[in-house]
Every structure is written in structure tokens, then in C-alpha cells.
């Protein structure tokens, strides 16, 4: 039993944080809002140079062949920096889905490109009517019943559905399932899609930790400098207690998220419940932090010019991605109350169990 990250894992986190502080500034994020795709191939390529998209990809395909425990802290950093683009759908969900469901030649075709940052994957799972960042994806992995289909971008019609978070653009995807697009039958696909959903939930949760903490940090910085009644507003208990509440939520989501990463990496029996719990806690922490950070900023936070909404929008869109809170809470209830999935408590076991 050791619930810590290794020195190497922490070093990788610092490396990614420093990279993002330099390359993914708020000005850069906002500049992409004005472009046609809203994405930067150049930035994505640099992200690949430090290993982010290929972190989980096998070495034979040019990846680092690490696991979700190695990845979880990096996802938190991408949340902290509000990285635009399909980090979650490509690097946490898509590559694993390809590994599990795709035939060797398809893996050999796409995984090296993904690891090198030359292509992204989009994932259309039944949990959502929309596909994120379908407009830049090289390959779309789409759910049809329980089957897995892989469709090149040229063979789908993607209709933009303008939405609230420019960092996660949504599309309705029209496509024709056929024998040619099918890469996995229902028996394999069922497990693959279940795993994909859990991975999406875990990855959103990890990013939300970074989003929530960034929102708190911005509000703290503002509360230390903004003066009213002759003093910094951060001296007021009304402000302190709101921010303390936000921090409690982020802290108590953190261990759940780390546990979820472990459960995904090791295919632990309780993976479904662990990832749902992490998604619920981290999303609620981030959306609560968004409300509180806005309130601390007052009217200034309500402006387009102030950067706060970059992260507020992230918090809201990640709450909806890969199953919203109500869906995941219902799944936990089904497991814990009705025993529909394994839901062992950590450490403690009840009498008779």
C-alpha cells in the first residue's frame, strides 16, 4: 500500500507545467478563439514532443507506454492551463480504444501519428449525442450499438454545434456504419466502450482538478489586491470562507481522482464506481470554484475581457462531457445500493462482507 506518486511522475508533472506556462498562455488560448479551427497544429506538435499525446501509446508505435497513474497529474496540468483541443478524447480515451478494439494494421497506421502529434482522434460514444473536436480529427471512433467503428474524417459529415467552451468544440456527426467501418463486434466492443466511458470520466475529473484549483488561485490573487473599505477584500471572512469551501471540495476530489487513475490503469473491479465518484466530485468542485471565483471577482469577473471565464467554461463543459453528474451519481447509487456493479469500500469491509 503506497498512495504516492514517484519522483519521476512528479518530475513529469513539473515538466508539463513549465511547458504549458510558457507555450499555453492565456493570451494564446484566447487567440485561438478567433481562428477558424480554434486549434494549433504547431502547439499540438510541441505537446507531442514532451510526450503528452503518446503517453499511453505502446513503444512500438512511438509512444511512452506509460499508464494512467503516470498521466493523471499531466491531465490536471492541462486543466490548469485550459489547453484547447482533444487532450482527453485523443490521449486518454482514443488511443486505448484503438489498442483494445482495432486490428493491428489500423493501430500501426494511426497510433504512431497520434504519438507524434500529427493526428488526433475523435470519439463518438453513446453517452453523448455530440463528438468533440471532430473537425480536426484524422480518425473518428464511433459507437454503433456495442460495435466499434473507425471512420476516416473524409467519410463523415460533421455539423458544428456552437457551444459554450471554445476549447471543446462540439459536432453532430453523420456517418454510415458498414462492414468496412466496423473494427470490433459487440462482444469486444461492449467492454471497450465501457472502458472508454470510464476513461473519459477519469480524464475529465483529472482536468477538473486543475481547472478548479486555477479558479481558486485566480480568485485568491484578486482578493489579495482588490481593496474596498480601505482593505484587501481577502481579509473579509465572507470571502475567506467561500474560498475555503472551494478548496475543501478540490482537496477531497483529488484522492478520488488519483484512485480512479489507478483503477483504470489496473482494470480494478470497482473501476466504474471509482471513475464515477471521481467525475462527480471533481466536476462539482470545479463548478463550485467557478461560481465562487466569479463572486469574488464581482463585476470584473462578469466581463468578457477578464480571463476568469476561460476556466469557468472549461468547468462547465467538462461537467457535461463523458456523462454528467446526475448520470454518474445514479451509477454509484446503482452499485452501492442495488449491487449492480462491484462497489467495495476502500480498506473497510462491512460485517459479512
Amino acid at each position: 500500500m503506497e498512495f504516492n506518486f514517484s519522483e519521476d511522475q512528479l518530475l513529469l508533472q513539473r515538466t508539463v507545467r513549465e511547458f504549458l506556462e510558457g507555450e499555453c498562455t492565456t493570451a494564446f488560448v484566447r487567440s485561438l478563439w478567433e481562428t477558424e479551427t480554434g486549434r494549433s497544429e504547431e502547439f499540438w506538435g510541441k505537446l507531442a514532443e514532451i510526450g503528452v499525446p503518446g503517453l499511453l501509446v505502446a513503444e512500438e508505435h512511438g509512444g511512452l507506454e506509460m499508464d494512467e497513474v503516470d498521466q493523471v497529474l499531466l491531465l490536471e496540468e492541462t486543466g490548469r492551463a485550459a489547453v484547447p483541443g482533444p487532450v482527453i478524447d485523443t490521449t486518454s480515451v482514443g488511443v486505448r480504444l484503438l489498442e483494445e478494439a482495432a486490428p493491428p494494421e489500423l493501430r500501426a497506421e494511426w497510433l504512431p501519428k497520434v504519438a507524434a502529434g500529427r493526428a488526433t482522434l475523435a470519439v463518438g460514444a453513446a453517452i453523448s449525442p455530440f463528438v468533440a473536436d471532430a473537425h480536426i480529427a484524422g480518425l473518428l471512433l464511433l459507437q454503433h450499438g456495442d460495435e466499434v467503428h473507425a471512420v476516416p474524417a473524409a467519410e463523415v459529415s460533421a455539423l458544428a454545434q456552437p457551444s459554450n467552451d471554445p476549447a471543446r468544440r462540439l459536432f453532430s456527426v453523420d456517418w454510415n456504419p458498414s462492414g468496412a467501418t466496423k473494427i470490433a463486434e459487440s462482444d469486444v466492443g461492449r467492454n471497450a466502450w465501457a472502458a472508454a466511458l470510464d476513461r473519459g470520466a477519469y480524464a475529465c475529473a483529472a482536468a477538473q482538478l486543475g481547472v478548479g484549483q486555477r479558479l481558486i488561485d485566480m480568485a485568491v490573487a484578486y482578493a489579495c489586491t482588490r481593496k474596498q473599505f480601505g482593505v484587501a477584500i481577502g481579509t473579509f471572512q465572507a470571502i475567506k470562507h467561500m474560498l475555503a469551501n472551494a478548496q475543501v471540495r478540490v482537496e477531497y476530489a483529488r484522492a478520488l481522482v488519483h484512485r480512479a487513475a489507478y483503477s483504470v490503469a489496473h482494470a480494478v473491479d470497482s473501476r466504474a464506481v471509482d471513475t464515477s465518484a471521481a467525475k462527480v466530485a471533481a466536476s462539482e468542485a470545479a463548478t463550485a470554484a467557478a461560481k465562487i471565483a466569479l463572486q469574488v471577482h464581482g463585476a470584473l469577473g462578469y466581463t468578457w475581457e477578464q480571463d476568469l471565464h476561460v476556466w469557468m467554461r472549461r468547468a462547465w463543459s467538462l461537467e457535461l462531457a463523458w456523462g454528467r453528474g446526475a448520470w454518474h451519481r445514479a451509477r454509484v447509487a446503482d452499485a452501492v445500493i442495488d449491487g449492480k456493479f462491484p462497489a467495495p469500500t476502500f480498506g473497510y469491509s462491512a460485517p459479512g462482507v
Binding site: 506518486f5 471572512q237 470571502i239 484512485r259 445514479a330 452501492v336
Partner: protein, 389 residues
Amino acid sequence: MDLSYSSEQQAFRAEAREWLEAHVPKQPLPSLDTAAGFRAHREWELELNAGGWAMVPWPVEYGGRGANLLEWLIFEEEYYRAGAPGRVNQNGIFLLGPTIMEYGTPEQKARYLPKMASSEEVWAQGWSEPNAGSDMAAIQATAAIDGDHYVINGQKTWASRGAYADWLFGMFRTDPDSERHKGLTFILVPLDAEGVTVRPIEQLDGEAGFAEVFFDDVRVPLENRLGESEQGWSVAMATAGFERGLMLRSPARFQNTAHKLVELYREVEANGDEIDPCLRDSVARCWMDAEAYTLNTYQTVSRLLAGGKIGAEASLNKIFWSELDVTMHETALGLLGARAELLPGASAAEGVGDWLDGFLFALSGPIYAGTNEVQRNIIAERILGLPRK
């Protein structure tokens, strides 16, 4: 990261489980806030100590088992699983004990810890005074040096376990000209000393869970001082850290409550009683929050075992577990519906368990060990770095 238990840890769990199954009283003991319940709980502690399980994480020489904090978590998990009695000496074993371990002289450790482990000596807390509650630095009770003794005067209040305890620990002003945090000394006081008057206070549940303690020229040897003279505040902060964090309220306590809550939901559902649809969601949330607290504690313990320290983050813990405890009990009362207000003697009270009693106790959580508002100030100032003024 490895979230599996080693074979040694599994063996330790099995050993604890076996002993507890053989020894835990089959019937629940009366409330430890009654005279009879206090005696019964002290007898249980003696038995626990004789079995070598009273103070699992303490060194063997002080009556412990020499286990590490992870094994202590495992023991707690087994303790709650077995439905074993509440720890009557928790102020001693969980709060003062670790503080003596950190600040005590070798003589003090040898003198106090073994009898604390066995609960031959049960401890009360002496923090609050009538004019020093959340503002603990406003302490007025004095301890003047007279030769080789302190002479203590003043009053403490809300002394948990004060009604029946043998000893009290607390802070006293040893420098009469001092203000606030300075000039306070941490002193151990026998409650049978001449000049001590203990007046039990009935709590919300009607039992004498705490007491007022009056000191009238009470003479205590200077060697009863814990830590340096006038450094009582730092010593007390260490104690408070243990109180707010993983020692006093180990996660298994809340996982056990969450489990009972799930069981209650199933029973009420099986009875065909009407259930507010929101309560299903509440039960799931309570379960998740108990898991969150557990995982957070395991992460903290892993950090401590790797050489880390606990600081202000104990305040995060205290808010989380105390508010979770209230929510869990509110949810249970919601599930019980009209029967929620029945006392144990009522003929229709079968199956209502001790949720009402637990609810009343849970309500004290956001108040004791430093109110949650004080904890929020600590988080804001010491973790987030917001300005004091």
C-alpha cells in the same frame, strides 16, 4: 503507487479481526457519558489493552503495538467492522498521547503513556474557558510558580469527558503580563487534586458528556508542564492537529456509518415505505464522501510514512468529516420518516437504530475541535495565503 495490501498487512488485519470477533461485547455498552457506561467502557479498554490492541501505533514500551500508521488504519477498519465500543479515553490516546510523544520528557512518557494506553487514567480536555472559545488565545486561567509547584486558578469549560475523567490537560497563563498566544503553558492536572471542582454539564442529548472545571489554588508540580514554559500554544497546536485530522476521526468510522445508511435504505425500500427520491442520491453521495475521506487519509498516511508532515490541511479534514457526519445522519432520519423522532424506549422504535442519538452527537462535530468557521479562517490564511488583516 500501489493500492493493494501486502501479505504482512493482510495478516495484521486477520489477526486484529480474529481478536476483535472473540472479544468485542455482544451487546452495546451504555453511553460513555453516564457513570455506568463510563465504567463499562473503561473495563473494555482494560481488556483491549490486555490483548495488546489498545494503542496500535504506539511504541511497545509505552503500551503500544509498535505498528505504523497504515496498520493503524487497518486496525480502525476492523474495529468499526466489529462494532466495538467508542474509545472513552480518546482525548488521551488520540490527542494528548501523540503530543506527549512529541513534546514529553522521557520521564513524562514513562509516567503517562502506559496508564493512558490502558485507560487506568482517563483524560479530559481543558481548552475552552467562559471567555475563550473560538478565541482560544484569550485564555485567562493562571498558573503562578510557587517554589517547585504551579498554583492554578480560574475556570475551564466544555471539558469533554470532564465529568468522570481522572486527569485534565490544558493551557494556563503562566506569565500574568502576557497577552494572547504568548505566556501560555501546557500543564497536566490531576482532577482529584485539592481545590479542583468539577461540575458536569448536561449536553443536548441529556447526558453529562462535558463539564466545567474550577481551579482554586490548585497546586501542581512543575514537572507536569508539557513542552517549554510559555510555549503552550505550539504544543496545543500539535494536539489540535491530531484532533482535527486522522487520529481522532479515522475514516472507517464514516465508512461504517455510510454502510449502515445503505443498509437502512435497503430496509426501508424492502418495507415498501415511501422514500423521498432525493434520498437515494443523498445516500450515494454520503457513500462517495466517506470514500473520499478514506482515500484522502490513505494518501496523507502514505505521505507521512515517506517523511512528510501534517500542517494546516488538518483543517480541511475537520470540515469535511464533521459536515459529512451531519449529512449522513440527516439522510438517515429522512429515510426513517415519521419514526425518526422516536426514542429507544418507544414501542414503535424497532429498527430505528441509534440514528437520532448519532444525529445529536454529529451536530457537535462542526463545533468541537475548533469550530468550522475557525478552520475556514485557517485554510484561507495558511493554505490559500489570504491576508489576516
